[in-house]
Amino acid sequence: MELIFFLLVAYGLYSIFISSDSQSSLPRSARDTLYISVEKDVDLGWDKNKPKNEDFTLYKVKGEGVLPNQHGMELSAALYIYDDESNLPLLSNFTQTDESPNSRVFRRDINLGYQAPGLYFPEKVELTNVILEGIHHPHKGKRTLDFAMYFFDSKRPINFRNGIIVAKKENLIHYSSVKKVFDFDEPGYMDEIKNNDASKSLMVEIAMQMAMSDGSLDKSEGDVIKRWIKKEVESASDSKKDELKENLNSSLESSYKKLSSGESIDSTITKFSEIASQNIKYQLIEFCLDVLSADGVADEAELKNLEELTKKIGLSFNEVQKMKDKVLVKIDTKIAEGGESASDESLLGMKSDLSNEEALIFIKKEYRKWNGRLNTLNAGNERDNAQRMLDALARLRKKYEGK
């Protein structure tokens, strides 16, 4: 990702210099000082064979008109993006576009190089670009974003803090902004803050469901949930500690009562899915995997539960399978052997709706993965578990070949 980002920056700068030089001699008078526009570029599928999550959506920020400098100078620009309604800045998902080492606010710096006065772009040229996946919005839903570009002399910078000019405003030579509407499926960072405590309470309830998949709460599973609550409370601010502790304990108790009486907590999962961000959803999966592995046994009900949960909260099956693999190789017990232990299909995360042909392709792919892992895992329990995965796959092959 860092490499991709680096290349995009390099390409952006290159295109500016090429365009600027070639346009400067055109005999056309320019009426407007440079203004910017934002256009969606193609989806960057770097490798079509890779999963969707490795694709990126690129927006090009373009400029048109006269450069704003009155005399020759090293010209720079800084791009910030704001949520138009709340005026909150967007945050950065990459350290390279952090405003400063202490601020995650998105800022894109553009070095335009030495520019003589009066130069202009009669047609749109790309000034910089923004990877949509590299920015973090404040609110979920249809939002208008304000792309704002600040121009200044490289030798006389402007001081920003959290996207706001805090000093040397007089150094601003020119400002241009453009609005564009985006529809965000995921809760934004303000939604996360607002829903944080509610999400945590719901996480406790869902983890309890995982623990009680077999109808009862095992001590080791209860201990994992207790440790998690304790950690959350400890990391909360002093003023919120007591309230959070009370809420999480209350969720623990109420979910225990509900689940003991056979009541469903489907509505809890639905609510969690609506308010939790993608990041929090994966934290829930990690939490559930800790609970699942607490007693050292991955049983059928727990694995089915995890599969259902993944589906209901809309996470990538492959990503969850990767997380599950890490847990399963470490469980210190024999898995998939008789009794109520997991079926070969559940253990390997094989979807129940696969056709016979798809099942055999899945089995072959998983076999390749686990056979490759066998030698890289630590000798002993981890390697034995990988060997059991291979045995399970061989059994599945026999089963599905014979169908």
Partner: protein, 404 residues
């Protein structure tokens, strides 16, 4: 074994070591350590499927031209290789294997069956010494020639006559055979080949004498496999040819020189090699470690790959450098073998985004040389992971040793 051989041919000081295709680095190192303990100086390492291929190509007595599968099922491991042969030019296209699949596992299944049947008949447990691995191997061989075998047990715990049919035995090992079948299919998939592209399948290793193994090979490759010479010796004889091929011609007799002069071997990397980097995971919305592959499995040797990375933090003063190995294209660092780890010290006070070039070079002698270079300061960490060497060299900053 060394002493036995020396009684026949005199003192042995140097050796070529053969390694199964799917051997982990630690198993490879253990094999080399064993050779050293036996007083042997290891001159070369060769992949077992490559050795078998070399023997086959050299000794078949026919002018070979086409793509061949070498199916090697021995006592402990299973290897499958796809080779392209044109006269005496041998090119290994792809190799894979199962590190724990072979005659020993089949013997273990016979022991399990005998113990279970003994318990049924006598209600007592059969001690290990009353039916040994060697006994099991003898009966396994019998089952390759006959439909059933009768095992007479006379132990302090009781007497019993146990019958094992070939069908029962084949059922008990069917999941093991299924593993070999999936490995064969994978090696073809990875090489973008279908069974129709394979001219012949050559069987190597003692376990290929078992009828169910031959049937399995025929089922997968849709053609009758072929045995050539003694399947138990193909790897060793191929390794001997490899030594001659690599040797100083002045140490060979004119006949030997003539024999190997025409051979030309091109091998491939049997593993993926990568390094750990920090990457943003768009799905989980979190930064996480990733194993980024530099050398792909199946890359023609020798090969060298350089990739550019950037530092992630302002003021970053070191990089954790790793060399990872995996049998599949694995991105999760938890599922790769870290075969080397070290640090590259960086100058202080620089912003994030400093370019770091990582180079992995791998040659025919399984020698890996890696370097991690900070481009702007020219600081470098180098590592040589060759047969007898595992040394790293990084430029030191004397300030690190000053007492504050």
């Amino acid at each position: 074994m060394k002493e036995d051989a020396e009684q026949n041919i005199g003192q042995i000081t140097e050796a070529v070591v053969t390694i199964p295709a799917n051997f982990a680095n630690e198993a490879r190192e253990a094999t080399l350590a064993a050779a050293k303990t036996a007083g042997l100086s290891v001159k070369n390492i060769i992949n077992e499927p490559t050795a078998a291929a070399l023997y086959y190509a050299y000794s078949s007595g026919e002018e070979l031209n086409g793509t061949y599968a070498i199916y090697d099922l021995g006592g402990g491991t299973f290897d499958i290789s796809i080779i392209k042969v044109q006269g005496s030019d041998i090119e290994v296209i792809n190799s894979d294997g199962v590190s724990k699949l072979g005659g020993d596992d089949f013997d273990a299944k016979i022991i399990e069956m005998v113990q279970s049947k003994f318990k049924e008949q006598t209600n007592k447990t059969l001690d290990d010494e009353d039916f040994t691995k060697n006994d099991a191997e003898d009966h396994k061989k019998t089952l390759s020639a006959r439909d059933k075998t009768n095992i007479r047990i006379a132990s302090p715990n009781g007497r019993a006559t146990i019958e094992i049919t070939r069908e029962e035995f084949e059922n008990s090992i069917s999941t093991l055979i299924a593993q070999s079948e999936m490995t064969c299919e994978n090696v073809l998939d990875e090489a973008n080949l279908s069974v129709d592209d394979i001219n012949e399948v050559i069987l190597v290793g003692g376990s290929t004498r078992m009828p169910c193994v031959r049937e399995s090979v025929e089922k997968v490759f849709k053609k009758e496999p072929r045995t050539f010479g003694n399947p138990d010796e193909a790897v060793a004889l191929g390794a001997a040819l490899f030594v001659a091929y690599k040797a100083d011609p002045s140490n060979l007799t004119p006949l030997q020189q003539q024999a190997v002069a025409k051979v030309n071997i091109s091998d491939v990397a049997t593993k993926f090699f990568g390094t750990s980097i920090l990457e943003w995971n768009e799905e989980t919305k979190q930064h996480g470690m990733k194993n980024d592959i530099l050398i792909e499995k199946g890359s023609k040797l020798p090969c060298s790959v350089t990739k550019d990375y950037v530092t992630v933090s302002d003021g970053q003063t070191s990089i954790n450098c790793t060399v990872n190995e995996s049998n599949v294209e694995e991105t999760d660092p938890d599922f790769v073998k870290k075969i080397w780890e070290g640090d590259l010290k960086l100058p202080e006070g620089r912003p994030a985004g400093q370019q770091v070039n990582v180079t992995f070079a791998y040659d025919e002698n399984q020698t890996m040389k890696c370097s991690f270079l900070d481009v702007s300061s020219d600081k470098k960490t180098e590592i040589d992971l060759s047969i007898d060497n595992n040394s790293s060299k990084s430029e030191v900053d004397i300030n690190d040793f000053k007492v504050e």
